[in-house]
């Protein structure tokens, strides 16, 4: 499913809104989440899951082939943890 299909599905579900309006809303949701993460904030969506940043420190590693030292820069990664009710629903549907 892509963003455009998501827009269509949500438009069908909620009454009285145009596709254009739903598109604006969905873009606002993801843009807002992106900005929060860019500020280093954690996102908690009850019943869905949490997004948080994992900071990976930089380190000196070695190229295993040549034995040469290389500097690995610090990185930020996003970690998503699925919420308990969602995890349960996923695994109930399966059995």
């Amino acid at each position: 499913m892509t963003r455009s299909v998501l827009i269509e599905k949500v438009t069908e579900k909620v009454e009285g809104l145009t596709k254009k309006q739903v598109e604006t809303i969905i873009n606002t949701v993801f843009e807002g989440m992106k900005e929060a993460l860019a500020k280093g904030e954690k996102i908690e969506i009850r019943g869905f899951g949490n997004f948080r940043l994992k900071i990976r420190e930089g380190k000196t590693a070695r190229n295993p082939k040549t034995g040469e030292k290389v500097q690995v820069p610090p990185k930020r990664a996003i970690h998503f943890k699925v919420g308990k009710p969602f995890h349960d629903a996923l695994n109930r549907a399966e059995n």
């Binding site: 989440m33 929060a36 993460l37 860019a38």
Partner: protein, 92 residues
Amino acid sequence: MTKADIVNLVFEKVGLPKNDCQDIVESVFDTIKHTLIEGESIKVSGFGTFNVRKKGSRVGRNPKTKQEVEITPRRVVTFKASDHLKAAIEKM
């Protein structure tokens, strides 16, 4: 950031009644959830991709008691940030 903060952003942007904004935001996450429960992945361009992966049974260990337990087969959701989102968080 919580769901209420997201509802507020939508409220400020579109000016619909707050209850409606709440219903729509709820509906967005609900739709994503149900799509994943059906086993389909979701790609939100500019944000990231949600996938469902099946994991087989394996043996785990209670780290406290060192007792072996079977970890049952399960489905897990993985999220992969898009390059766009990765660039946004590296800039901070």
